[in-house]
Structures are given as structure tokens and as C-alpha cells.
């Protein structure tokens, strides 16, 4: 059973590690659509996969956040990635496994995975 003493121990440990956060740093943003359409299509595990992996890998320049519906409900779960100085990349029909690939390829190596992007879908139809 988790006790509040354990939480105090975490606090004490963290308070000695001041200054890890550098807010001035240029940030890459990973934005997951979390409206009804996104959630119903499976956005919760996608959001959590991104958050967990980014933390695990210590990618302090990446911020994972959520947004509402952008109007492409049939392509949910949708993830938008914006990096400073680069065009926005929109990934569609995501799941936790694809999120893992995106972290490895896109966030770590800067390689966009074209087959998962909205451009790979015939949106006009």
C-alpha cells in the first residue's frame, strides 16, 4: 500500500535536484486530440505512451499536451508535432505502438514517418 511518507521521500529527493528544468529552451510540442472523437478512437493510451516515453528517455525539450477536436474526427487519434523552425506534422489513426515509433524516429532522430501522416490519407474523399 502506498503511503504518504513515500511521497514525502520523493519530494525530498526532487528538491535536491533543482534547476533541471530549463524553460528558456526551444520546445518541441506533441499535441494529442482529446475530445470525444479522439478519446473514443483510443487517444488515452496514445497520450500516455508519449508522456511516459518522453519522461523515460529524459527528453526535456519535448512537451506533451492535449487539445480538443480539430475537425478530422474520422482520422482520430490525431497527434500534431511542432518543432521550432519546422512545419507542423500531423499523424493520424495513431495507437500506442505507432507512438513508440514516432518517439524513436521523429522526436529522437528527426525523421518524419510519412506513412502515418495525414498526407498519406486521401483526405479529400
Amino acid at each position: 500500500m502506498k503511503t504518504l511518507a513515500e511521497l514525502q521521500a520523493i519530494r525530498d529527493k526532487m528538491q535536491t535536484q533543482v534547476g533541471l528544468r530549463q524553460d528558456g529552451e526551444a520546445k518541441t510540442r506533441v499535441v494529442v486530440g482529446m475530445a470525444t472523437c479522439g478519446i473514443a478512437a483510443g487517444a488515452r493510451p496514445v497520450l500516455n505512451a508519449f508522456a511516459e516515453l518522453v519522461q523515460q528517455k529524459g527528453m526535456t525539450n519535448v512537451m506533451v499536451t492535449q487539445t480538443g477536436c480539430i475537425g478530422l474526427c474520422q482520422y482520430e487519434p490525431i497527434v500534431e508535432i511542432t518543432a521550432p523552425g519546422q512545419d507542423k506534422v500531423t499523424y493520424v489513426k495513431m495507437d500506442a505502438d505507432k507512438a513508440r515509433e514516432v518517439v524513436e524516429q521523429h522526436l529522437k532522430r528527426g525523421v518524419v514517418i510519412g506513412k502515418y501522416t495525414v498526407n498519406a490519407e486521401d483526405v479529400a474523399k
Binding site: R11, M14, A40, N48, Q56
Partner: protein, 182 residues
């Protein structure tokens, strides 16, 4: 929605959008009454009487990105198809309370699913909002109150990796202790 916990995550977004600073979420199962009650209460800006009147209508939304709003109607449908009922009370400037009652063992009652993941997601992605979550099954229960956590943490954020992992385990272990999953 495949799980009621996803409806909770979805409906809670409405409170977040309404600038709530406190959200209370409770899940209460009672075998004797054969009921499962989920309540989501926020202190956000609340709805106008007109909005409240239309909120259960799937073709009403305040969004401009699409013409439908299915969050509340889907939650309502899930309650009613299990022989339960649905109620939403809202007052401008005070907040909104949603109450969904389900037939616990009704064949058409959608499983609760991974409620811990929903609460963990809400808490760690909305550090500016206080959450009070309680889970009770046949009298045994537990509560997670982020105000209590924040007091102990003295400024260490809830989305700090170790704090986040603690919150997840706190939920899982307490749920296990109760040993009654719906």
C-alpha cells in the same frame, strides 16, 4: 465508448474547458442496490439555462470544428441502456454536476474499464486543477485528493516522472486492496 472510464475522461474535459479549479469524481458500486453511480462535479463557469436544455442533444455543441457534441449524450445513453438514469445540474458561476446511474449487473452495462488510467491522465495533465477522486465498492473505498498531495510536495509538480509513477501505483494498489472491480 468501450469503457465507462473513457466517458469519465471525456465528460471531465467539459469541466476543464469551463475553467474549473476543482473537480470531484466518484465511482460507487453497491451490489445490494445493484447500482453503479458515477458522479463528476466541477466548480467551473457552469451552463446557461439554454445550454443546459440542449446539452443532452447530440446535435448541440459549443465547438466550431464540428456540428455534433456526443460527449454527454453518449454517457447518458450508456446509463439508460443499463436500466439506469442520467442527471445533469448546472448553474452559471457555480459549476456543473453530472450523475450517471447504471444497473451494476445489467447485461448492457458497459464495463468501467481502466478508471485508474483516466484519473492518472486527468491529474498529471491538468496540474492547475485540484482533483478529488473516490472509489467505493460495497462500503470499502479510498480517496485521492491532489490538494493533499500538493501540500506534501511543496512545489514539486504532479507531472514529475516519479510523482506521476507514485500516483499511478497509489491508484492501482488501493483499487487492488478493495478487490472489487466493476
Amino acid at each position: 465508448m468501450e469503457e465507462l472510464s473513457l466517458n469519465v475522461l471525456d465528460v471531465a474535459q467539459n469541466g476543464i474547458a469551463a475553467a474549473a479549479t476543482l473537480m470531484e469524481i466518484s465511482v460507487t458500486a453497491d451490489s445490494g442496490e445493484d447500482s453503479l453511480v458515477i458522479e463528476i462535479k466541477d466548480n467551473g463557469r457552469g451552463m446557461t439555462p439554454e445550454q443546459l436544455e440542449s446539452v443532452e442533444d447530440p446535435f448541440f455543441t459549443t465547438r466550431t470544428t464540428r456540428p455534433v457534441g456526443l460527449g454527454v449524450p453518449l454517457f447518458k445513453m450508456a446509463a439508460e441502456q443499463s436500466g439506469g438514469r442520467f442527471e445533469i445540474v448546472s448553474k452559471q458561476g457555480t459549476g456543473t454536476a453530472v450523475r450517471a446511474e447504471f444497473g451494476l449487473t445489467h447485461i448492457d452495462r458497459v464495463p468501467l474499464g481502466d478508471i485508474n488510467s483516466t484519473i492518472h491522465t486527468l491529474v498529471t495533465f491538468n496540474p492547475g486543477i485540484d482533483f478529488v477522486y473516490s472509489y467505493t465498492a460495497d462500503g470499502a473505498g479510498f480517496t485521492l485528493d491532489t490538494r493533499e498531495f500538493k501540500e506534501i510536495l511543496e512545489g514539486v509538480p504532479l507531472d514529475n516522472p516519479e510523482v506521476s509513477a507514485y500516483i499511478k501505483e497509489y491508484l492501482i494498489e488501493n483499487m487492488k486492496e478493495i478487490g472489487f472491480e466493476v
